[in-house]
Symmetry: C2
Subunit: 219 residues, 2 copies
Amino acid sequence: MSVAIENFVKAIYKNDKHNVNNTKPGNIAKKLGISNAAATDMAKKLATRDLLHYEKYQALQLTEKGNKMALNVVRKHRLWETLLFQLFDMSLHEIHREAELLEHQTSDFLASEISEFLGNPKFDPHGDPIPNAQGDITTEDTSLALSQTQEGKSYVISRLMSDDKEFFDFCALHGLKYGNCITVTNQFRNNKMTQISANNNTILLNEDFTNIIYVNEIK
Amino acid sequence: MSVAIENFVKAIYKNDKHNVNNTKPGNIAKKLGISNAAATDMAKKLATRDLLHYEKYQALQLTEKGNKMALNVVRKHRLWETLLFQLFDMSLHEIHREAELLEHQTSDFLASEISEFLGNPKFDPHGDPIPNAQGDITTEDTSLALSQTQEGKSYVISRLMSDDKEFFDFCALHGLKYGNCITVTNQFRNNKMTQISANNNTILLNEDFTNIIYVNEIK
DNA sequence: AAAAAGATTTAAGTAAGCTTAAATATTAAT
DNA sequence: ATTAATATTTAAGCTTACTTAAATCTTTTT
């Protein structure tokens, strides 16, 4: 399968997973940086290949085959991220950027070798789960967005759900990384802001950030 | 630059390096598995981009820019081979197959990280030299093909110049690998065969093999 | 040196993956 | 419930990297 197709099904998969947005061609087009027309064309084509269900003006839906393909690409992406992070101590943004290209040129065989070398990890350095070779995610996700947390409680950062360099730079600067502890000191619900304490620093985060930082409560 | 272009200049580079063949479109086409017409088209296009010199019916010649590009791709290929070989203990054929794809999706930044991680190696597991980030090969090649060796002398295997699975399987089976010692017991020059002793086994090799196995004399 | 064989080039055409512009449908706002 | 705004789709066209077939040139053989 071509890079364009792999990226298309991956984009649908991620959109379904993370967004409230309907998964229509326009949304996918925006994420992939292509025109709406191109996305519509591609959707029609992939429907004939049984990778997704397409009906005019309706949301796109991956078939089981399409879902498998997306998970296979996601698996390779996250394995690469984990390997690069471990070997080279590259930043979260850098490993993402490289994995975005490598994921499409990786045989299932090589993916297995990487996985085995790493001890078959269940999560990548962003905290995202790594599907197994069959395309199954066996871990369950109990984490919640920082925007949903409660004042006074403490949490472990479990996931930084972004591809954005600025976001990762900000996180690195303030010690917000996978596995670190934070305490929620204030929830300004009206302003959709959350104040936290991390490493003895107080940080005020807006909803752009509190919706993509995921945590687990420490009990 | 596209994968097709990178592979084209790489094929010219390798053809110039290893073969007596004129580097004409037909030869390159054969190596890349494309038609002669496609190779001619590509050659003309690359000439306009100052990657090679093209004159009708003449051999193709890389410009300095084209040569730099080829060496950059070769560098990434050989770094990947070295990394995969070290981490995963994959066969010479397997690392080649994977590197063939990964080489085109590797930033200069990542190449440097890999190189540094490996201790800036000068040679890959086939014994091929790894160009540095500037595209220079700083090692000098004193090795000679097995077909050029002398009866009674002993040599160290310095290079297995092939991409072929069967060849590598044969080598692995008989302990013919980078760094191993062999002794030339007979040169049958008329029949273009060479008889060697390796690991106390006697092996008779024809010119297909003696031209791609390179060695250095042990003095 | 002429003929035959072999390469190279030209020409015409294809598929993938895009583009822009115009037409059509859906959704939101008044 | 219209109208206005927004999305989606259709249509036509482009570029890259190929293909095959025919024409042209070069090399080899006799």
